[in-house]
């Protein structure tokens, strides 16, 4: 009797990418189920950088909590300071001086450019173009110089305080900012030459990891990742918090929600942020930079959820006050953490080489994901 030929079969295998891996943006671990080079499933494993910031904040006063927000998304500390300060101000009914509001917006937008530069740079680096990364980092230095001038730090600024900002926007900072704004179109044109116009770069990201608007909305994604799918939702426009309501800027959106759109949205947002900063510089009024905040801050009993447009999406602070100097409970809605849910969808059916570009186009910062 003829024996039945053994059926041909292939086996899937599991590849643990990270937490030690050159392109996992810190300590992200992704369990890839692979069929050859094709990804069947990508499961992010989080928690390697969990420091319990929410728990730590429960035993600190509101003022002491602020530096912890620097360490959430350490690339965009200004935006985190901004979000937390706004939440406490809403809880304690503190009115912020107008000059401080404008300075805050300038800083938040500079930080957004900074963060997007790193996002674009790491995308280039993950695709093997390390030169692209270093060009982005070169231009980022100019922003760090401005931050250094206003608050004396290049990272973890703790500059935006409850009730205002800690130092004035000096003339030197102004001239540095203006010099930087002049550079923006120049370096954007340079990236267009080095990266956008590069055939290999284009082929690596066009049509890769696509996502429809409905999928992104279902997954609760926010920020550039959502806007790349074509949904023009930006909290700066939607909520118009701080002085954003008075400023004129556009919301760049993509079309297909692929890596190309996410990259383009970031590039265009840099230009829009530069526009916002220019307007703020023109409108910057004279006056105080700090409101009268009591030495011992005791917000009334109650709770608040205040959100702002962080660099990676909706950054929300939920604070429960029991009337003492310390918050009873703080919860941080971290955009990177929620956006991580899209990773599986973005990686499925792609190749190993595409998974790294999916990581860097989601642009997670593990300090924020793990909190």
């Amino acid at each position: 009797m003829k024996a039945a030929a053994p059926a041909k079969r292939t086996e899937t295998y599991l590849l643990n990418m990270g937490p030690q891996h050159p392109s996992t943006h810190g300590v992200l671990q992704v369990k890839l189920t692979l069929d050859g080079e094709r990804i069947l499933k990508a499961e992010p494993v989080l928690g390697y950088l969990h420091r319990g910031i929410e728990k730590l904040m429960e035993s600190r006063t509101y003022v002491q909590c602020l530096p912890y927000t620097d360490r959430l998304d350490y690339i965009s500390s200004m935006n985190n300071n901004f979000g937390f300060a706004m939440a406490v101000e809403e809880l304690a009914n503190i009115e912020v001086p107008r000059r401080a509001e404008f300075i805050r917006v300038i800083m938040a937008e500079l930080n957004r450019i900074n963060s997007h530069l790193i996002g674009i740079g790491t995308l280039a680096n993950d695709l093997g173009a390390s030169t692209g990364m270093l060009y982005c980092f070169r231009d980022r230095e100019y922003i760090l110089d401005i931050f250094n001038e206003v608050c004396g730090a290049r990272q973890t600024f703790h500059y935006i305080r409850i009730g205002g900002v800690s130092g004035d926007f000096t003339d030197k900072a102004r001239s540095l900012t203006e010099a930087f704004l002049e550079r923006v179109p120049k370096f954007l044109a340079e990236y267009d030459q080095l990266l956008t116009g590069n055939e290999i770069f284009t082929r690596r990201i066009v049509g890769i990891s696509p996502m429809t608007a409905q999928e992104a909305l279902d997954l609760n994604m926010t920020g550039p990742n959502l806007r790349a799918t074509g949904v023009a939702r930006d909290l700066r426009k939607l909520d118009g918090y701080s002085v954003y309501g008075e400023l004129d800027f556009a919301i760049p959106v993509g079309e297909h929600g692929d890596n190309w759109d996410r990259y383009q949205v970031k590039l265009k947002e840099i230009a829009e942020s530069a526009k916002i900063i220019r307007q703020c510089l023109d409108k910057l009024p004279e006056g105080d930079i700090m409101a009268k905040v009591p030495k011992v801050l005791k917000p009334p009993k109650g709770e608040v959820y205040s959100r702002s447009e962080g660099t990676r999406g909706e950054l929300g602070f939920y604070i429960v006050s029991d009337g003492t100097t310390k918050p009873y409970r703080v919860h941080i809605r971290r955009p990177s953490f929620v956006n991580m849910q899209g990773l599986d969808l973005m990686c499925r059916g792609m190749l190993i080489g595409d998974s790294v570009s999916a990581y860097s186009s989601i642009d997670p910062i593990m300090g924020e994901v793990d909190c």
């Binding site: 295998y13 590849l15 891996h21 050159p22 392109s23 050859g36 080079e37 280039a124 680096n125 993950d126 695709l127 093997g128 173009a129 390390s130 030169t131 692209g132 270093l134 060009y135 070169r138 080095l194 990266l195 590069n198 290999i200 770069f201 082929r203 690596r204 190749l351 190993i352 080489g353 595409d354 998974s355 790294v356």
Partner: protein, 347 residues
């Protein structure tokens, strides 16, 4: 045979040794040993010079300074420091590795990389192994370099290495074909597989880069793919699979891979020089071997330039490009060469 500085030197040496020993075989043998030592010297010098050059070139392109601490302002001793670091590193063997294959892989990779140097005409008459099927042997030997990669990848007991090994096989096999086909046109024009004949055929400034521009482009792209450098460095693919087959190697074993990589880089440059840029030919004010190395170094710089400008391609793109674009184009080149030769009555 034409005389040149190098071949003249060899003749003089042979005479001297013959004068001392009086046995012709011994003098031939001694000369071969000297030649091999020289070639190994060239390879290791290339690795040393290119590590430094790569760092400086890449720094220059990336608005950085590059090495500037070890050995003065220009960091001239950086390769020495690199070497010392590599030599003092612990040799770690992963658990569950196939010990024999694992240890053999770097050595086996280095052998073909070094062996092909025997065929290169560094100057008129200055060839260690002057064979009339040089081109054929050269690619037969260098094609063997696929196996050690796969061996290392398989033996490391690491999935990244494994994926890297698979990538090497698919990539190198698909680019071997267009690489060879791109040279067919030249072989048809010269009618010889001896490398020195090919160089001599380009005398008078009519380099094959002008006669066969399409072949040159195909050759260059394929050669970069064969040496596994960006934009075709999928094998190492640092941001994807860490270091591919080399992931688990450390210390001097890794240094051997490194050495082979730079030897291959120089090989690619030398081949381009020999086949397309007129090899050692050039105006008389410089000796032939100087022209030869000048052109080779320029080609190395060009390949480095690629590396620091381009992103990496993806594995499916590189394969479809190789089979669907490069191979048909190289065959078209052969066809066109044949047609033109027929039309000119050269056949």
């Amino acid at each position: 045979m034409e005389t040149s500085f190098l071949s003249g030197l060899a003749l003089w040496l042979r005479g001297e040794i013959y004068g001392v020993t009086g046995i012709p075989v011994l003098s031939d043998l001694a000369l071969d040993v000297i030649g091999i030592a020289l070639l190994l010297g060239i390879i290791s010098m290339a690795a040393i010079v290119f590590t430094y050059a790569e760092r400086k070139v890449c720094a220059f392109m990336q608005v950085r300074l590059g090495p500037n601490r070890v050995g003065g302002r220009f960091g001239l001793l950086q390769p020495v420091a690199d070497m010392l670091k590599l030599m003092s590193k612990e040799d770690i063997m992963p658990e569950g590795a196939d010990k024999v294959l694992w240890a053999l892989s770097p050595a086996l990779l280095f052998v073909p990389a070094a062996l092909v140097y025997a065929f290169f005409p560094f100057d008129a008459g200055a060839v260690l192994a002057d064979v009339n099927v040089g081109v054929f042997l050269l690619f037969a030997i260098s094609g063997q370099a696929v196996l050690p990669f796969l061996m290392g990848g398989y033996a490391s007991n690491n999935k990244y290495s494994m994926v890297g090994g698979f990538r090497v096989v698919s990539q190198m096999i698909s680019y071997e074909a267009p690489l060879l086909f791109s040279l067919l046109g030249i072989l048809m024009l010269t009618g010889s597989m001896r490398l020195e004949d090919i160089v001599e055929a380009q005398a008078g400034g009519l380099w094959f880069v002008f006669l066969q521009p399409l072949a040159f482009v195909i050759f260059l792209i394929s050669a970069v793919a064969e040496t596994n450098r960006t934009p075709f460095d999928l094998v190492e693919g640092e941001s994807e699979i860490i270091a591919g087959p080399f992931t688990e190697y450390s210390g001097m074993r890794w240094a051997l891979f490194f050495l082979a990589e730079y030897a291959n880089l120089l090989t690619a440059a030398i081949l381009a020089t020999t086949f397309f840029l007129g090899g050692y030919l050039g105006p008389d004010f410089l000796p032939g071997f100087a022209w030869f190395f000048l052109k080779a170094v320029l080609m190395v710089f060009l390949i480095m330039w690629f590396r620091w400008t381009f992103p990496r391609t993806r594995v499916d793109q590189i394969l479809s490009f190789g089979w669907k674009a490069m191979l048909p184009l190289s065959i078209l080149n052969v066809f066109l060469t044949g047609v033109v030769m027929c039309a000119l009555g050269l056949v």
